[in-house]
Amino acid sequence: MEPLIGMGVLALMGAAATIAGASEDLESDVGSQSNPNSQVQLAPQMMYPHRIFNKAISGEPPSNALMAAVGGASASVLMGAYSMSVVFAIAVGALIAAGIHGTYATTAYLGRSASQKRFRQPIYLDMVRSHVPVMMGFAYITTFCILVVSYLMTSVLGHPFPLTLLAFIWGITVGAIGSSTGDVHYGAEREFQNVEFGSGLNAANSGNIVRKAECGLRNGIDNSWFCAKFGGPATGLAFGMTVFLSGWITTIFDPSLGANIGWLSIVVGLAIILILILWNRRLEVFARNQYGPYKEDEEVTA
C-alpha cells in the first residue's frame, strides 16, 4: 500500500477514535457507570436519596465490549449474508448495539433502585425516559466510530483479525481508557463539589454527593454537561492518540518490509512510551508546584 494512503487511513481512524472516546466517556457519565457509581450506589444507604441515574451494567470495558461486539457481529452478518453496503451495515449494527445497551441500562437502574427500598430510594420513571435515550445516542456514536476503526483496519490495513474480534478488542480498550481518564473528572470533582477542592474524600463525606443543581435536582444529564467541558474531550484525545500512535509506528516502519524495520518499529514504540512518561512526570511536578498540597487553614478564594 502507498504510504500516503496508509497515513490518510490512519488519520481517519484517529479522528473516529477521538469521537468514540469522547462519546464513550459522556455516555458513562450520564449513567454514572464505573468508578463514580460506588458513591451513587452508596448515597441512599447514607440517607441521601437522589435523582442520579445508577447504570450498573458492569465495568465500562465489558459493557463497551458488548456494544462493539454486538455492532461488529451484526455489521459483518449484514455485509456477509445480505451484501449490504459498508456504511449502511455499520449504521444498522450500531443501532442494534445501542438498543441492547438501552435494555441493559434500564434493568440496571430499575434493579438497583428497587433493591434500596429500605433507604426510601424511589424509582423515577421520567429518569428512564430522559436518560436512556441520551445513553443510547452516545452508545450509537461510540459503536459507530469503533466499527469504522475496526473496518478500516481489516479492509484497508489488512489486519488478520475478523471485524467482530477487532471491534471487541477496541471496545474493551475504549472502555478502559474512558474509565481511567474521564471518570476522574466526574467522580473526584463533580460528585464532591460541595467540599473544598483537593481535600480528598473524608470518610464522613462518603455518600454525601451533590444532589441539587443550579436549578432543581441534579441528574445524570447535568453531570454529562459538566464532563463535556473537559473529561470527555480528554478521554477522546487519549483514545485517539492510542489508536493513532499504535498504528503510526507500523505504518511508517512496516514490519512486512523486513526484520530490521520491524525491530525499528518496536524501538520507536518504546521511545514514544518513554517520551510520554517523561512528559507526564513533568506535568505532574508542574501541577504540584503550581497548586501545592492541600492546606487546611488557607482561605478559599474561589
Partner: protein, 271 residues
C-alpha cells in the same frame, strides 16, 4: 461499605439444587436435542441450542448471586468474565476431543477447572468464602454450557470443525464470550443492594439470556446449518415475557415508583 452485598449467605426462595438441575440438565438436553433435530428435521430447530444457553445463563446468574452475596462488590463483573474464560478453554478442549460427546467432555472439564480455581481462591489466596469451591465449579459449568449452546444455535452443530470455521475463526466467539458473560454477571450486578430478591435477579437472567439468543439468531444468518428467523422470533418473545415479569417484580419490590417528583419528604425535613 455495604455496596457489595449483605456479607452473609443470600436468602433464596428456589433452592440452588433445583437451579443446578435446571441449568445442567436443561442445558445439556437442549444442546443434544438441538443437534439431533437439526440432523433429522432441518436447520429450523437450531434455536433449541439457545434455549439450553438460557438455562445455563440462569443457573450461572444464580451461582454468581450466591457467591457474590459474600460482599464481592466490584468483583461481580470479574467473576462473570472468569466464568466465560474458563468456559472458552473447556469448550475448545471438549469439542476438539469429544466428537459427539463433546458438550459433556467440555462440561466436565469446566467443572474440574472451576473446582481447582475455587480451591486456589480459598486455600491459597485465602478468600474464606465457604461456598467458593462449589460456586466456581457451577459458574464454570454454566459458562461452558452457555458457549456450547450459543455456538449450536449459530451453526446447528457442536462438531469442532464447523464451530472452528464458523464461530471461532470468524470472530463471533467474541460476541458469545461477552454476551454470555455479561448475561451471567449482569443480573446480580443490576439488582445489587440490601433488598435484592432472587426471583427478580433470575428474571433479569432470562431477559439477558434472551438478548444473547437474539444475537445468536442474527449471526446464524450466515450459517447454512442453522436458520435465523425462528431463533430471533423466539428470542424476542422470551425477552418480552421476561422483561414484563421483571418490571412487575420491580414495581412489587421498589419503595415507590413515581412518574416524576422531588426527593422523599422525610429526608428533606431532616436536613
Amino acid at each position: 461499605m455495604s455496596a457489595g452485598g449483605s456479607g452473609g449467605g443470600a436468602a433464596q426462595a428456589i433452592p440452588q439444587n433445583k437451579l443446578i438441575a435446571f441449568g445442567a440438565a436443561g442445558g445439556l438436553i437442549a444442546i443434544y436435542l438441538s443437534y439431533f433435530m437439526v440432523q433429522f428435521a432441518g436447520p429450523a430447530f437450531s434455536f433449541i441450542g439457545a434455549l439450553g444457553a438460557i438455562c445455563a445463563i440462569v443457573w450461572g446468574a444464580a451461582a454468581v448471586r450466591r457467591v457474590a452475596s459474600y460482599g464481592l462488590g466490584t468483583g461481580v463483573p470479574s467473576i462473570g468474565m472468569l466464568a466465560l474464560g474458563m468456559g472458552v478453554v473447556a469448550t475448545m478442549f471438549g469439542l476438539a476431543v469429544g466428537g459427539i460427546a463433546g458438550p459433556i467432555v467440555a462440561f466436565v472439564t469446566a467443572m474440574v477447572i472451576g473446582l481447582v480455581i475455587g480451591a486456589l481462591a480459598n486455600r491459597i489466596i485465602g478468600m474464606g468464602i465457604p461456598i467458593m469451591e462449589q460456586s466456581m465449579t457451577e459458574i464454570a459449568g454454566a459458562g461452558t454450557l452457555a458457549i456450547v449452546g450459543l455456538s449450536t444455535a449459530m451453526t446447528g452443530t457442536f462438531m469442532f470443525d464447523v464451530v472452528l470455521t464458523e464461530v471461532i475463526s470468524t470472530g463471533y466467539i467474541a460476541l458469545i464470550f461477552i454476551a454470555g458473560g455479561i448475561a451471567i454477571l449482569h443480573p446480580f450486578n443490576a439488582n445489587l443492594g440490601p433488598d435484592e430478591k432472587q426471583d427478580r435477579t433470575l428474571s433479569t437472567a432470562f431477559e439477558k439470556g434472551a438478548i444473547a439468543m437474539i444475537m445468536a439468531g442474527i449471526v446464524s444468518a450466515v450459517s447454512a446449518g442453522a436458520s435465523a428467523a425462528p431463533t430471533i422470533v423466539i428470542g424476542l418473545a422470551i425477552w418480552y415475557v421476561s422483561f414484563s415479569q421483571y418490571n412487575k417484580y420491580v414495581v412489587r419490590d421498589a419503595y415507590d415508583v413515581v412518574g416524576t417528583g422531588l426527593l422523599p419528604k422525610e429526608e428533606e425535613e431532616s436536613e
